[in-house]
Amino acid sequence: MKNEYGPSVLHALLSSRSRFFQATRSFFIANNYLEVDTPVLAPFCIPEPSIELFETQKLVLKFPKGKLYLVSSPELWMKRLLALGIGNQFQISKCFRNNEVPGTIHLPEFTMLEWYAVHKNYTDNIGFTEDLILSVLHEMDIPGIIQYQGNAIDFSVPWNIMTMQEACSEYSGIDLSKLQKPSDFYDVLSAKHIEYHRDDTWEELFHRLFLLEVEPSLPAGKPLFLTDYPKNIKTLAKEASCCYSERWELYIGGIEIANCYTEAAVPGQIDFFFEEESKRKAQQCIVIPPSDNELQELMRKPGFPDCSGVALGMDRLLMILLDKKHISDVAPFSSFLL
């Protein structure tokens, strides 16, 4: 066995994780959220071309009876619960992503906190997320200003909020609203000597710029909600009138911690997402599960509630709170999986 932790280090880590989970649960229960638990296996998926899934075979009496996939998030089950009228809900669960990039912030198996708030939108979830994390800090006796890898992070509210349009203008000098088609990027990228290919998708062209110039420059002294992502990045977030989606990512210490949507409710957008992203998944992925058509139907029905959902990487947040450099430092035995 890899002896990466001494018994006392392991005990301290397990205690921290336990307090962290308890503090999180207490906050949601105090806010009248129902804790739910749903399968980590599923026979289908919400099509996301950038995510590779783990696939396994179901056997019955030793005969193969179809394939099952480890879920990349509990979204597909929790949205069924929303459709069934189970209201505000949260879950802390294991999620699985294959083909994750090497580095300090990815694990093939990780712990996700996911919650849905009905009759709320993505801006409502900004204050709620601040309250959640501040409550966790308080319960864990962590001060409001912490050091992460030598840099201070000040958790006092309000946290920073910046739209993607503002961030791109500030750190890259570009007007994102003018970049609607892939070809709109060509001159911008050429002028900045950023390489691209003519067959790049809009999302890829955008990320060439965002990951090089914008993300590394985002202010990290306070948590930051980066909001209003371009709707050309296809997700199930509600599209606002112009060119962006009602979506934010929370960055703490420069690391992506959580992702929030006002959930899409327009049948046309939902159908377009499932159909287009299924096609792209079939082209780009190695493991290609069936698309979750039932969920597609449920989401486009009038009975599906207006709501906002957040997925938060628990290991990443704990890694920052405990000032650890590598996500595997806070997830016991996870280095066996790397």
Partner: protein, 186 residues
């Protein structure tokens, strides 16, 4: 050609006909989007640093380099080295390699990276021994500075060392982060 996903630190690439060394490589993968390799590259002619992102499946042109041992002789506007096998002398412009002077010791052998029959890079060993040429006596009871003090080494490099290190002693230094490793006994 090399896939961007297979590139590691220390690989040499040819970009727009200029030789570059990969000095940092990081994988980045947004929650909702494609994975990229974020490279920090140093132009070996100008010393300029270039940052670029590549999709992991993209290919880049890697260059075949050879490394040969050379003895460091002296510096004027250029660094002068002599091939230890053939005694052939070469020079490498200081421009773009200014910081190397802090790690060059006369008479010491270094690996020189050659590309297209021209020297493009001086490889500084990861750890090197230097003589301390200037050190102040430790002030008794000084705990404010965390038990370290600055000293100057024979090449002009200034590093922080424990208080017990004296002038004339030899220390092993991590050349990458310029940190003290240990005292070397004579």
């Amino acid at each position: 050609m090399i896939r961007a996903g297979d590139i590691s630190k220390g690989v040499f690439l040819l970009i727009k006909n200029e030789p570059y060394e990969v000095i940092e490589r990081e994988f980045v993968s947004p929650g909702k989007g494609s994975a990229f390799v974020r490279l920090k590259l140093k132009n070996l002619k100008t010393g300029q640093v270039l940052k670029q992102n590549n999709k992991s499946q993209e290919t880049l042109e890697d260059i075949d380099v050879v490394t040969e041992p050379y003895q460091y002789l002296y510096t004027d506007d250029n660094y002068h080295f002599m091939n230890v096998a053939t005694y052939e002398q070469i020079e490498i412009p200081k421009e773009g390699h200014e910081e190397k002077i802090l790690f060059l010791k006369e008479g010491e052998n270094y690996q020189i990276v050659m590309w297209d029959n021209a020297p493009i890079e001086i490889v500084i060993p990861y750890k090197m021994v230097f003589v301390v040429t200037e050190a102040q006596e430790a002030i008794k009871g000084d705990t404010v500075t965390g038990g370290t003090k600055p000293v100057t080494l024979e090449t002009g490099l200034v590093i922080r060392v424990p208080l017990f290190i004296k002038e004339g002693e030899r220390v092993l230094v991590n050349t990458e982060n310029r940190e003290y490793v240990e005292r070397v006994n004579n």
